[in-house]
Symmetry: C2
Subunit: 146 residues, 2 copies
């Protein structure tokens, strides 16, 4: 199986397969005489595992940890659980932060909607500054983005 087929089968782009190999996340693929990479079903399993773990938000480093734990059968279960739990905690922190941002923004937007203020409270703290310096900004920055 060439890299294209392996990519389709695993759902990992060919680009990423080569990248994962280059950083040592997956072992180097066998090569044909002409240098084409060859993959078997084991390789596809592994790539699929990597993809799923990425979809679950594991960093490549964590996935590497999981896969090397796998090698060492004796320690694996408890340690795998440890890595997974650590990741769950990270995700939960992230989720809490997100919820906080959403709540704050919702408040601001509702304030803005009710119209009980002359200026949009989302912007209030900028008042006076942008207008004052607007002229200076015209075309003078090196790489404008808008």
């Amino acid at each position: 199986m060439n890299i294209g087929q392996a990519s389709q089968a695993s759902g990992v782009s060919a680009k990423m397969i080569r990248y994962y190999e280059s950083i040592g996340l997956v072992p180097p693929a066998d090569r044909s005489n002409s240098g084409y990479r060859h993959y078997g079903s084991n390789d596809v399993y592994r790539l699929t595992f990597v993809r799923r773990a990425r979809e679950l938000g594991f960093s490549i480093k964590s996935i590497g940890e999981l896969m090397s734990l796998w090698v060492d059968r004796g320690r694996s279960r408890a340690e795998v659980r440890k890595v997974a739990l650590r990741h769950v905690r990270e995700l939960e922190t992230q989720a809490a932060r997100l919820q906080e941002m959403i709540a704050t923004l919702r408040d601001l937007v509702n304030c803005c909607k009710r119209g009980d203020r002359p200026d949009c409270p989302i912007m209030t703290e900028l008042e006076g500054s942008l207008l004052a310096n607007q002229a200076a900004a015209k075309g003078s920055a090196r790489n404008r983005i808008f």
Copy 2:
């Protein structure tokens, strides 16, 4: 006020202040004869706004939109609200995805904990593949990360 003071006052690192200027998110600062950047309280307000918006998860591009809307007073309120609402929706999508990942991972971890399976279900789909190819991986990748 030099960049160091402006950094402290706004909570934006000096590095980032220069970066924001280079991409045109904030107008170029006045310079002293020797080339030092000078900041006033308006600049500090603006930088503080940028920092808060970043803390709320706005991308720099969105912050740019918000700030350029600000210039055009007539349109601002409705459009600012639109940008903010769009961002809220993005955050909510992200949060939902996060919750899904957390739930999936929690299931796997609980499975693993109960011990009602010989192998850790987190890893089951890798079974057979890593062990088979482990030998090939030894020291052959260009830049190993673990």
